[in-house]
């Protein structure tokens, strides 16, 4: 297997000074990343998930050369990012979901021009890449608009395009769909699939399991700095019997409904929550509900990552 990214027992230890009492300070060590190893092959699209503070961002920062690992070995396209940060920078694209790299007061197009010149992208390649991003991300009407006037979703699309103009081999995305509405999320996901089909390796962190479900064949779960799962999403659900939730609005208040394959969790006026196994399809449940009860509205909620991980542990303990 041609590993584009390889981590071998990578560690990151932060020394934190904590106040104890009025003047005394105690130094404690926080192992943000605690011996992680994995390979990512060229062309993979991998989801990297975990609760807040699990070590996701720290890992991404070590892969981009922002942080120097305390131990272990990191290689991206054969390069040690911590030692050759600028060399690795040419071959990767990075999108920080909550920190834009675009120029606030200038038209979107100007930010792309700067990327072209900072990365010395040849004109023909730049034109081709920009045209592709503009088409797939609907950026045409936005190119001449100052970035400060863009909506969050538009800006995120703009940021993703900016990270791809120099043809990176790897694209890292840190929470690319955070805060976006449904339509924007769908557009971003569609584009990422397209980018990955074009051969770019993608590693994304997210809190939205739907991102993973729709995009990634492989998901890695990190918790307390350790890799606790590396495989497909079904495996993750299977490992912990996680549940999805059907949120149903009826015409009027009803007693908790009983249908096969789901269990009532909560009732609040005319709204009811029904849990069902994440591995099962929602369609037969919806059909049955629609046939037997006066339905107004209905939606499916994915389990929160924290719940999935909590259940994983519970499942393991039971074994």
């Amino acid at each position: 297997m041609d590993a584009l990214i390889r981590l071998e027992r990578v560690e990151k230890v932060f020394k934190v000074r904590r106040r104890v009492g009025r003047l005394r300070r105690v130094r404690t060590e926080v192992r943000a990343v605690d011996g992680i190893s994995f390979d990512i092959a060229r062309g993979e699209m991998v989801g990297y998930i975990g609760p807040n503070g699990a070590g996701k961002s720290t890992t991404i920062k070590m892969l981009t050369g922002i942080l120097v690992p305390s131990g272990g070995r990191v290689r991206v396209a054969g390069i040690d990012p911590a030692r050759e940060r600028t060399r690795v920078a040419r071959r990767i694209g990075v999108v920080f979901g909550q920190r834009t790299t675009l120029w606030w007061d200038l038209p979107l197009r100007d930010s792309y021009e700067l990327v072209r010149r900072l990365y010395r992208v040849p004109d023909a390649r730049y034109d081709r890449n920009l045209a592709r991003c503009v088409e797939l991300l609907d950026l045409g009407p936005l190119l001449d608009v100052p970035v400060r006037q863009l909506s969050l979703g538009q800006r995120m699309r703009g940021d993703i395009a900016a990270a791809l103009l120099h043809d990176p081999e790897v694209l890292y995305l840190d929470e690319p769909t955070i805060g976006l509405d449904v339509v924007s999320k769908a557009k971003v996901r569609g584009f990422l699939r397209e980018v990955n089909d074009g051969g770019t390796t993608v590693l994304l962190t997210t809190h939205d399991l739907t991102d993973i479900e729709q995009l990634c064949t492989r998901v890695m779960v990190i918790d307390h700095g350790r890799l606790v799962h590396d495989g497909d999403l079904a495996g993750l659900h299977g490992a912990g019997d996680s549940e999805r939730t059907l949120v149903v609005d009826f015409e009027r208040e009803l007693p908790p409904v009983r249908i096969a394959g789901a269990r009532p969790v909560k009732v609040e006026g005319p709204r009811q929550w029904l849990a069902f196994p994440a591995s099962a399809s929602a369609a037969p449940l919806v059909a049955e509900l629609a046939a037997c009860y006066p339905l107004v509205d209905l939606s499916v909620r994915e389990p929160a990552i924290e719940d999935v991980i909590a259940r994983m542990y519970a499942g393991r303990a039971a074994l």
Binding site: F14, K15, T58, K61, T64, G65, I66, L67, V68, S70, A82, R85, T86, R87, A89, R90, I92, V94, F96, R99, T101, W103, W104, D105, L106, D110, L114, R117, L118, Y119, P146
Partner: protein, 267 residues
């Protein structure tokens, strides 16, 4: 190095164009910057309304000190004065966006939030310096003439070194900007006045600790044919370029240490 300069120029260009998005605001800021520094000089002129000499220096002589110090600081302030906001980038984590680009971080940090309005400060200092050169009754030898550009460049380099050192400290203490300002803008206010009006201990500090005396005092003592208030040997008056080089080297080391600390501890 060439890569860094090119990146610096590109990013500065972007900031200038960003500034021009608010043209009126830019004009107001530049004029304000000019007036605020002009007020400084007005204060000196008022002092001379009451006395003919200040610490043994005449008004044109004091204006020469004022102009050289102001030009040196103004140049450093324009080129990398915005580095004192580095701490903010460290605090909110946006420094990371600079670290993933294929150009030196120093060039990016130096160009960050480049403020063209600072031309206001320099232009005022240039005017004062130009006036003092015409009003000075000095016997200009070729060495004296050469010493003026040398002291301006060395002075700008010394102030730059202070800016960079201050920025480097912000990797550890994100709000060290005020300490740095006391050495840069404060140092400018100090060296605008004749050295003879200050206590000797302050002069010693400004010569041997933070080498602000080399910005203009020492070379000016030679041009104006004054005795050193500290009784230091005359050859020190020509040492500004050496001191500037040493200060820049020290600042470079501080910057590297700061960046290394950031990259091994994160924000």
């Amino acid at each position: 190095m060439a890569d860094g300069l090119r990146a610096y120029a590109l990013i500065v260009g972007m900031w200038v164009r960003s500034t021009m998005a608010y043209r009126f605001s830019f004009v107001m800021m530049a004029v304000g910057n000019f007036l605020a520094t002009a007020l400084d000089f007005a204060a000196i002129a008022i002092i001379f309304g009451h006395t003919r000499v200040l610490g043994g220096f005449s008004l044109p002589e004091t204006a020469f000190l004022y102009g050289t110090s102001g030009c040196a600081l103004g140049l450093a302030d324009l080129v990398l004065g915005s580095m004192d906001q580095l701490g903010q980038r460290v605090r909110d984590g946006t420094l990371d966006t600079l670290l993933v680009r294929p150009v030196p971080v120093f060039a990016q940090a130096a160009a960050d939030r480049f403020a063209l309005r600072r031309l206001g400060r320099i232009s005022q200092s240039v005017l004062v310096l130009a006036w003092s050169l015409t009003a000075l009754k000095a016997a200009w030898t070729p060495v004296d003439v050469l010493l003026v550009p040398v002291m301006l460049v060395s002075g700008a380099a010394i102030f730059s070194a202070v800016f960079v050192t201050g920025a480097a400290f912000q990797f550890w203490a994100t709000d060290a900007a005020e300490v740095q300002n006391s050495f840069t803008y404060g140092g400018n206010a100090l060296t605008q006045y004749p050295p003879t009006v200050f206590a000797k201990d302050l002069l010693r500090g400004a010569t041997f600790v933070v080498p602000l005396a080399f910005v203009n005092w020492l070379p000016a003592l030679h041009i104006l044919r004054r005795a050193d208030p500290l009784g230091l040997p005359g050859w020190l008056d020509f040492c500004s370029p050496l001191v500037a080089a040493a200060a820049c080297a020290a600042a470079g080391l501080a910057w590297r240490a700061g960046l290394r600390a950031y990259r091994s501890t994160g924000s």
